[in-house]
């Protein structure tokens, strides 16, 4: 039955990559045509990805839409693709956000438009590849290849300190992931296979697991990013063009979280259980300390970047709190809630952080400043924009009814089952998040018109309204009716918990 389907996953991976190459060949001489082609490719990719959702069978944890072709048989590496309840939503998120990125760059990017669009399309394919890969080497290949387009995007279209920021971004991520490569090779020597699902079944001693866990931790914590390896993110975000910031915040960070779900938790469950205190501590530091850091930022993008780190702390907290809940209550249901909360938080943060960066982009395009002090009273001149910005800010602060609430609520609720104090500290995010976002809104949107730049602002145009309302719809829909997302995950989460709670020793 499934074999009659076209190879959907390969299509969503390679169509944007080939489309990106085509955009390059249309050339910089003809930006109009390049943009039109890029938009077509992005929209088509999103349309192709929709059947992944509609045909998805939520009752099973098995990999779906699988594709299997031997790739490097001598080393038993296969081109093996498939999705489950974790990866499918993230693929849709990627395809969705890329359409917005293309729209966001439509008028703003003037220099080398074709290369800009092509970089994003190629990156889209590679990121989807990361989520769809079921072979460790294939995963690693996509994971690393993604760095090249992002490196160029920040470096070519970025701000004044772009070279520093992009080199830091590249080298941090590269350094983190090479250790993961060695761990994967080591796993291969034990399992005689590069299949991720075989790794899940592989018995390993505790000391092996601890080493491998730390290798994964290095690789993924840089991506997430977790404190203390987060310092590349504010730099990269501030210097990146709007589209780059959106993709970084909405997708790249999620790859780190996804990596924990796909690799660290199921492959090294005993090490994860033993070291869960470490991740929980780091996550709480991210939530509380980075939340405080966000409070004092003068630069809007930097503020949102720090807020991203704090929110991603919630994701890792949700994933790793599961062990503690299981130890305390012996019930898998509470543990499942933490993981689902983390997943919902990832998707929701993808929408919200993307939206906030787009909002900053809208302002930056007009005033060419990201400093909070250069604004004030924007609501007077840009009422429609102000409405959107306030909505996204509220969602970022976790207002009930928006998607930001669902994930945070689930994670805090499950933390309570593990320990009151963890939940207490985690709840700080509700206060801090509200504080820094609302204060940002107060200083930028409300009040008297700050200066003549603000007085001359024009409200958002049709293009910007389309892109912001798409995101607003997503944020509200996920906030009011998260069931379509959570129900796709139940079976997968249960399956993950089986792997996590059964010892591999």
């Amino acid at each position: 039955m499934l074999s009659e389907l076209p190879p959907l996953l390969s299509l969503v991976i390679w169509f944007p990559i080939l489309g990106g190459a085509a955009v390059l060949f249309v050339g910089d001489d003809n930006p109009g045509r390049a943009k039109a082609l890029a938009l077509t490719v992005a929209i088509l990719t999103f349309l192709i990805s929709i059947p992944l959702f509609t045909l998805f069978d939520p009752t099973t944890a098995k990999m779906q839409f699988q594709e299997f072709v031997p790739w490097i048989p001598a080393l038993s590496v296969n081109y093996h693709l498939g999705v489950d309840g974790f990866s499918m939503p993230l693929i849709l998120l990627t395809a969705f956000m890329n359409v917005l990125v293309v729209i966001a760059g439509w008028e703003v990017v003037q220099y080398r438009v074709a290369q800009y669009m092509a970089a994003f399309l190629i990156m889209e394919g590679l990121m989807i590849g990361v989520f769809a890969a079921l072979d460790a080497i294939l995963f690693y290949v996509f994971f690393e290849a993604m760095l090249i387009p992002m490196f160029l995007v920040i470096g070519i279209w970025g701000g004044p300190r772009r070279v520093y920021a992009t080199l830091k971004f590249f080298l941090y991520t590269f350094l983190g992931s090479v250790f993961m490569l060695i761990a994967l090779i080591y796993l291969y020597t034990q399992a005689d296979s590069f299949e991720i699902l075989d790794f899940h079944m592989l018995p390993l001693t505790l000391s092996e697991q601890v080493w491998i866990f730390f290798a994964f931790l290095l690789g993924f914590s840089v991506k997430v990013p977790m404190w203390p390896v987060h310092t590349w993110l504010p730099d990269a975000h501030v210097e990146a063009p709007t589209g780059g910031s959106v993709i970084l915040a909405a997708i790249t960070l999620k790859i780190g979280g996804y990596g924990f779900l796909r690799f660290a938790l199921p492959i090294t469950p005993d090490a994860s259980a033993t070291l869960d205190w470490l991740i929980i501590t780091l996550s709480l530091i991210a939530v509380v300390y980075i939340g405080l850091v966000a409070l004092i930022q003068q630069d809007m993008k930097k503020l949102i970047a720090y807020s991203s780190i704090a929110h991603m702390g919630f994701v890792t907290l949700g994933f790793f709190i599961a062990f503690s809940i299981y130890r305390h209550t012996g019930s898998l249901n509470g543990a499942a809630m933490g993981i689902e909360g983390g997943m919902v938080q990832m998707v929701s943060h993808g929408f919200i952080s993307g939206a906030l960066f787009l909002c900053v982009g809208v302002l930056y395009d007009r005033v060419h400043s990201r400093q909070i002090k250069d604004y004030g009273g924007v609501a007077n001149t840009m009422p429609i924009f102000a409405a959107f910005m306030v909505l996204f800010a509220m969602a970022n602060a976790g207002l009930p009814g928006t998607s930001g609430f669902v994930g945070e609520f689930l994670v805090i609720l499950s933390s309570f089952k593990a320990s009151f104090w963890i939940a207490f500290l985690a709840s700080f995010t509700l206060i801090l998040g509200a504080a820094y976002t609302l204060w940002l809104v107060k200083r930028v949107i409300f009040g008297e018109v700050g200066n003549h730049h603000v007085a001359e602002l024009e409200d958002v145009g049709r293009r910007e309204i389309i892109m912001l309302s798409l995101l607003a719809a997503a944020v509200l829909l996920l906030g009011l009716w998260p069931d379509p997302l959570t129900s796709t995950m139940h079976a997968t989460v249960d399956n993950l918990l089986q792997h996590m709670t059964v010892t591999k020793l």
Binding site: W71, L75, I182, Y188
Partner: protein
Amino acid sequence: MNFVAPDFMPVLPELFVLTMACLILVIDVFLDPQRRHITYGLVQLTLLGAALLTLFSYAQASVVTLSGHYVKDAMGDLLKLFIYLAAAAVFLYSRDYLRQRDLLKGEYFVLGLFGVLGMMIMVSAHSLLTVYLGLELLSLSLYALVATDRDSPVASEAAMKYFVLGSLASGMLLYGISMIYGATGSVDLQVVSIAVARQGANNLVLVFGLVFLVVGLSFKLGAVPFHMWLPDVYQGAPTSVTLYIGSAPKLAAFALVMRILVDGLGALQSDWQGMLIILAAASMALGNLIAIVQTNIKRMLAYSTISHVGFLLLGVLAGDKSGGYAAAMFYTIVYVLMAVGAFGMIILLSRTGFEAENIDDFKGLNDRNPWLAFLMMTIMMSMAGVPFLVGFYAKWVVLQAIVNIGLIWLAILGVVFSVIGAFYYLQVVKCMYFDKPERSEPIQLSLDTEIAISANGLLLVALGLYPTALMGWCAAALSLKGLA
């Protein structure tokens, strides 16, 4: 006394290249300088002919001939094919560069061909004497090539340095060979290997011979601490010669290591493994660290070569059981493809009166010629080992071999220095894409060089998407030797 004529069929490619080289030497003397392209065409035809001869007689099993001095096997044939390919690309890229500098003389091509012949002999050597003969034929051609631009003091200095240090290395090698001969009573690699297996490491003369051989090989490869000549020669030589030295001879050097250490002294693996670990670790560390501070791109690539040699040695020391030899061979071939592209790009950006020698000369290449910038980025990213480019797979198979024998710390060392190395490759990409151009003259390329450099860059992508075939050839070539 019966004289039995040896079987010359396996040596046919070598004989062909030798004959053609002599013929071209004579023809060139009678050629009008305006018609030098005939020499060039003949050289390319020679390489093509040799490639066809090798291809059609591709070895299915090892054949030893010329009284045990020469062997034709799949490893040799595969390496030879890539030597022809690299040499052909070198001549093609160099042609316009040499013409612009009035260096387009027959000597360059003839010496180049003799160098190719030397490499072929090294690759197919089956006795320590043949190894030495091939090596000297190659080295002498290279010394002369470095000095071709005789009015350039830098080039003369480089040639001198290369000659003195190279002779020293040859001396070491010869000294080692004499000790091995003393200990085993033969120069035939097969006899040597049997004798060595019987005596083991107990024979002090043998161990001393081994040390001298390893020192000599390290000189030729440019492994730390015997690397001093490499940056100076790379920088001082005309870029066309740097391109030559930096590419095909690496294949021959790999063959040299395989013939001497593996075929001849395989029984002493536990002894030379430790030496190679030190050489490899030092090469990766020093090469990558010093390359960071270079501003001259030829010098930077020289230090990058040193670090790549370190990685290559990692594969060799991992040994056959872990697939290390096949990994090292794959690494060498891939490295040569990348080096030809990188140095080729430097040549193509140079014009009359202007050498694109500094990393700054690549500034704003994306604005001047996006396609060339893309190709150069491909090459640089491949050297850095970023996936979907073949350089990644080369690093990966070597790391896998190292992890297989349990030297995980060495693998970690390798990847850490790869990350450090990525920095200077990224610097080049940064110059091309993030900086504004300092020059505005258009870059003129003749059609054939443009096609060649495009093919070169795209090959790195294509092999990155489908590395299976090349990996398979390497593994098959070595399994025919009884090594996998």
